[in-house]
């Protein structure tokens, strides 16, 4: 376990080393939140609420969705793809750790860095610029923290899946891009799931994506109350467990492929 924690620390330090990243990150995240804020203000016009979300809640929803994205977002799919292409995976395999766990820990190190250095200062800026409201209930924050941890898990698992897919596709940049687009839409990052037509919402109930952004954001904006919170968290947890299955299967196949092709 110690070596995985070390990996988180190393990745954290690596992120710290890239300081231009840090300055630009806050600015760009704020711009992103701002742009969506104006878009939604225009959409709301003089309507008080849409789908039982007030414009204030909507603004908070956008802000927190982006903040959470900073935490769960990572490029490990692209990294895995690169390492496979460059033949480094074969070397990684003989190291005394589990490659996939290691990648996940790197993602976590990045996530912790981003939430501390992008999201928190970014939220302070956003707080002064836009009418964002934060919950006064400490319990909401606890649920939210639990929820974004689970959303990190789900997103990272999906990234692992797309990364491993490189073994079977020569160049899976397209797949990685497609995945990102799908996640932005279906996770509720750019649009709360409740805004979709009913049939689409039903479809999304059977997909893991809404656990990535929609559930934690709804918890934070208190758009979810009481039992809804627990249902949301349960939904995420179930997906975390379910996703281990395809990863395990694909990884076993990939390792076999690696032996045949020699990386």
């Amino acid at each position: 376990m110690a070596k995985y924690i070390e990996m988180i620390r190393i990745r954290f330090l690596m992120m710290l080393a890239y300081r231009t990243n840090y300055y630009s990150g806050i600015l760009i995240y704020s711009i992103n939140i701002g742009a969506y804020y104006f878009l939604w203000s225009a959409i709301y016009g003089d309507k008080g609420s849409i789908q039982s979300l007030s414009i204030g809640q909507m603004t908070t929803y956008i802000a927190v969705a982006w903040m959470a994205r900073a935490f769960y977002f990572n490029n490990i799919d692209r990294e895995i793809a690169m390492e496979i292409k460059e033949g480094k995976v074969a070397i990684e395999m003989i190291r005394p750790y589990n490659y996939l766990t290691m990648k996940m820990m790197q993602g976590l190190g990045e996530g912790i860095f981003r939430i501390l250095f992008f999201s928190l200062p970014g939220m302070v800026i956003v707080y002064f610029l836009f009418p964002v409201s934060f919950s006064a209930h400490p319990l909401t924050w606890v649920y939210f923290l639990g929820s974004i941890l689970l959303s990190f898990m789900i997103n990272t698992q999906i990234n692992l899946l797309t990364g491993i897919a490189t073994f079977f596709l020569f160049n899976n940049a397209g797949l990685i891009r497609a995945k990102r687009v799908v996640i932005d839409l279906f996770s509720g990052l750019i649009l709360p799931i409740s805004f979709f037509p009913g049939w689409a919402q039903t479809v999304m109930d059977y997909l893991p994506f809404k656990g990535i952004s929609y559930i934690p954001s709804m918890i934070f904006t208190e758009g979810f109350q009481g039992v809804q919170i627990w249902n949301g968290l349960m939904n995420q947890a179930v997906w975390v467990i379910l996703l281990f299955l395809p990863i395990g299967m694909l990884w076993t196949l990939a390792k076999r492929q690696l032996i045949v092709q020699g990386g």
């Binding site: 080393a17 890239y18 300081r19 231009t20 990243n21 630009s24 990150g25 760009i28 995240y29 711009i31 992103n32 701002g34 742009a35 104006f38 878009l39 203000s41 225009a42 959409i43 709301y44 016009g45 309507k47 849409i50 789908q51 596709l169 020569f170 160049n171 899976n172 940049a173 397209g174 797949l175 891009r177 497609a178 687009v181 799908v182 932005d184 839409l185 750019i190 649009l191 805004f195 979709f196 037509p197």
Partner: protein, 261 residues
């Protein structure tokens, strides 16, 4: 001109390689289509809850999006050098580029082109035609040339911004998230800029002029006369930003430090 014949030489090599890996090219095109679909879905869902967005109707929004896809496809096919710092500076591929007798940026454009992105232009044109018929728009014969001019200008704006960003790599090879995030900001140009507040509108017009890729040129075809000044400015902005980026690039090349230093 020899650059033209070199371009075709590279393009034919590119197609040969792409045909060897057909499946990947197909996945890429599908993923492009998917991303376009997602953006359309966004507009459709939003208009499920409102009928006008700061004075723009659903079909007008869709038309703007369709137009935006054309310059964006041109950009994606030729100027999509988001991994420049990593690939050419950190890994030192720039060394090789600089030992060849062709302008370095042109070589990189040749090496990094992704012609399948051009399918996006087709999608864009289809979307424009569909929404134009919904809106009962009328066109003149010269509108085709106006369209080409505006689309190329939009692509130059995009190219200018991304080449400028890539040039930063000559001064600092730190990994940054600027490139991927700039794609997000670029997307705001496809919504009408009057929904934003003054500061953002100003940024999208003069600093990161993404508004000249989507809404300003589209306004011409939609007959929104209040925006015509900006429409006419589109080629100017495109040229200015492209030349600024060329200047930065040429300046940057003299600052190149080589790999491993």
């Amino acid at each position: 001109m020899s650059y033209v014949s070199i371009f075709f030489q590279y393009a034919s090599q590119y197609l040969k390689t792409r045909l060897t890996y057909r499946a990947d090219a197909l996945v890429e095109i599908i993923s492009d289509l998917l991303s376009q679909a997602v953006n359309l879905i966004f507009i459709l869902v939003v208009f499920g809850h409102t009928s006008l967005l700061s004075g723009w109707s659903r079909d007008e929004m869709i038309f703007i999006y369709g137009f935006f896809l054309v310059p964006f496809a041109l950009f994606g096919a030729f100027f999509n050098i988001w991994d420049f710092t990593d690939r050419y500076i950190v890994k030192g591929e720039m060394d090789r580029i600089l030992t060849r007798p062709i302008h370095s940026l042109f070589q990189i454009i040749l090496e990094r082109m992704e012609l399948e992105s051009l399918f996006g232009a087709v999608t864009g044109i289809v979307i424009m035609i569909v929404s134009a018929s919904q809106l009962h728009l009328t066109f003149h014969w010269y509108d085709l040339f106006v369209f080409l001019l505006l689309a190329f200008s939009g692509a130059m704006v995009y190219a200018g911004i991304f080449i400028s960003l890539a040039s930063i790599g000559f001064w600092s090879d730190s990994r940054t998230d600027i490139m991927p995030m700039m794609y997000n900001i670029g997307n705001y140009g496809r919504y009408p800029v009057n929904i934003y507040n003054k500061v953002i509108r100003w940024v999208l017009t003069w600093i990161l002029p993404f508004a000249f890729v989507g809404v300003y040129p589209s306004a011409y075809f939609l007959g929104k006369e209040e925006w015509y000044t900006y429409t006419y400015l589109t080629p100017v902005i495109g040229i200015v930003f492209f030349f600024i980026s060329l200047f930065l690039w040429n300046k940057g090349v003299t600052k190149y430090r080589g790999a491993g230093n």
